[in-house]
């Protein structure tokens, strides 16, 4: 087992160290922005789900408060705000 661990260390440790140094160089403000942008991107994706706006049984558009996308967007925006403030 010890020999196996040494082998794994020789192969993977340099790659792990390179990745570590690369990510470590990114400033935390940019990391925070990345998380917020990811959440906002998901919000935009939810908005584009136009099929969700229509009741498949009647073919009519849901009233705004019954449109599930509205609630999803509110939840995601709250998340983006939290990561913007506390990230």
């Amino acid at each position: 087992m010890h020999r196996f661990e040494s082998l794994m260390e020789r192969i993977l440790a340099p790659a792990a160290e390179g990745l570590f140094q690369g990510f470590h160089a990114i400033p935390m403000s940019a990391v925070k922005a990345l998380f917020v942008v990811l959440l906002l991107s998901m919000t935009l994706w939810v908005i584009t789900l136009t099929r969700e706006a229509t009741d498949p049984a009647t073919g009519r558009r849901y009233p705004l408060f019954r449109d599930l996308r509205l609630w999803a967007v509110l939840i995601l925006l709250t998340q983006a705000l939290l990561y913007g403030l506390l990230g």
Partner: protein, 501 residues
């Protein structure tokens, strides 16, 4: 430190009795496997949403996340926010409606239809074994608290919990699980909010908490931040949170965990299935406030505790007055019960639908399957009792659970994603990807201390096993004949499922 008073004990005993009686009433009249495993597909979406969240929280999260917050601070909120909500959105709008329309009981069942029987059996065995092992950890968590607060010996605590929860899950099936979970969510929420309120009062509000923590560890700003830098010694650096948690473990959990998805499949309509997940995501917004913040308060009040896992029982014992303590302890029991009943029900579903009905008795009637499911539930809860002692060997229970999950969640997610979103993925590719991912996670786990700088690097292990599983699945799929069009037309995601194939 004092134990629960007679009043507190009475509240706890009454609560347990009420849950058992309710479950027994709910369980009457169930005749088929669909009644038992999917609640007859009549479950209310808001109950399912509450049930998903309370089962996810469980006793492990109450103790483990509060314990983690005691050590690393606000970063533990990632497990409920970025580590849940984006994945729940994907589940709500893509995966859960798809599974619901397919009319399946289990995730391996879907993968069996999409790929082949070997993939289905392999995953059913992995999940079935994991869930049984997990039951031991849940029982251990309960026994530790019962021993310290009620004075009941550890062994007896394990047995009592197993018999109470096992009893009502055997009789009531998924419907009983979901309805009792909805009640347990309310009790848990109120109980945790009480700890938060009393804790904030004791420490002098938010300002008092900040001051107390600053006194203990001056200048430690990261305690109040969600995102930690790469060089943190804890396994929660931002890269681990993003790649391991948000991109792998969380989607694998909310999309591929049988114990979570099963109750969505029991809702009355596809729209209800979506609503249940979105409601769960809404509730998730509040969970860190009532669980993570008390852990941080605990650090300010009791910085000398030996381990983080002690903080929740410590807050409960030392902060709360008689009566209130009984309610909060009932909340803890509620969290525990919701985890155990969900895992029990799902484990028996997997073994009945994917193993028994497929490999042992293919002509089993729905009635026969229900009887087998009930029997297996009883067997699993009894088998979990000795496993509680195994779980005792892990320092932090939450880490124990995440470590177990990280070993196979990445490969599982990889084949679910490719199976649903890539028509070219083949059965041989999925089997190869699953095997490659599992081997990767095993190798990384055994040599983790030589490769990773973080302690308990399960989030990284999940990420790399996911990457390897994706690569192997793609390579093997391209090297093997494509699946039949009739299969992929029906079992791969389409943006407009109402359009003709």
């Amino acid at each position: 430190m004092e134990r629960l008073s007679t009043v507190d004990l009475s509240i706890v005993v009454l609560y347990l009795l009420a849950m058992m009686i309710l479950a027994l009433v709910i369980g009457r009249g169930q005749k088929t496997d669909q009644d038992y495993f999917l609640g007859g597909r009549k479950l209310k979406w808001w109950m399912v949403g509450m049930s998903m969240v309370v089962s996810d929280i469980g006793a492990l999260e109450l103790i483990g996340v509060a314990g983690g917050a005691f050590i690393v601070g606000a970063a533990m909120a990632n497990f409920d926010w970025i580590g849940c909500i984006p994945a729940m959105m994907l589940a709500a709008f893509i995966f859960v409606p798809f599974f619901w329309r397919a009319g399946i009981f289990t995730i391996p069942e879907y993968l069996g239809r999409r790929f082949n029987g070997a993939v289905r059996t392999t995953l059913a065995l992995i999940w079935g074994l994991f869930m049984c092992a997990q039951l031991g950890a849940f029982l251990y968590a309960a026994a530790v608290a019962m021993q310290s607060l009620m004075g009941i010996p550890f062994a007896l605590s394990v047995v009592i919990t197993a018999l109470v929860v096992g009893g009502y899950t055997v009789v009531g099936g998924l419907r009983a699980v979901v309805i009792t979970d909805a009640i347990q969510f309310v009790v848990l929420f109120v109980g945790s909010a009480l700890i938060l309120g009393y804790g904030l009062y004791a420490i002098g509000g938010i300002d008092g908490m900040v001051a107390a923590i600053d006194t203990e560890q001056p200048g430690r700003e990261s305690f109040f931040h969600l995102l930690l830098p790469m060089d943190t010694v804890h396994p929660f650096s931002w890269t681990a949170v993003l790649f391991g948690l948000a991109l792998v473990l969380s989607p694998a959990y909310w999309i591929g965990n049988q114990a979570i998805i099963q109750r969505n499949l029991g809702t009355a309509s596809e729209r209800d299935a979506k609503k249940s997940v979105l409601f769960g995501a809404f509730l998730k917004l509040f969970i860190p406030v009532i669980i993570v913040v008390p852990g941080m308060i605990g650090f300010g009040l009791y910085p000398t505790l030996d381990t983080g896992d002690e903080v929740f029982p410590h807050l409960l014992k030392n902060l709360l007055p008689t009566g209130v303590r009984g309610i909060v302890f009932a909340a803890f029991i509620a969290a525990l019960m919701s985890s155990v009943d969900s895992y029990l029900n799902s484990a028996s579903t997997l073994w009945t639908i994917d193993i028994y009905k497929r490999l042992i008795r293919k002509d089993a009637t729905p009635q026969r399957c229900m009887v087998v499911g009930k029997t297996l539930t009883a067997v699993f809860v009894l088998a979990a009792i000795p496993l509680a002692w195994l779980a005792a060997g892990f320092g932090n229970l939450f880490d124990y659970m995440q470590t177990m999950l990280s070993l196979f969640q990445g490969p599982t997610l990889a084949i679910i994603l490719l199976g649903m979103l890539w028509k070219r993925a083949t059965g041989a590719g999925a089997l190869g990807g699953l095997g490659g991912g599992l081997i990767t996670s095993g190798l990384l786990h055994f040599s983790a201390n030589r490769i990773f700088t973080a302690a308990d690097p399960y989030l990284y292990i999940a990420w790399w096993s996911f990457v390897v599983a994706i690569l192997v699945t793609v390579i093997v799929s391209l090297a093997t004949p494509p699946p039949a069009k009739s299969v992929t037309d029906l079992l791969c995601y389409r943006r407009n499922p109402d359009a003709p194939v």
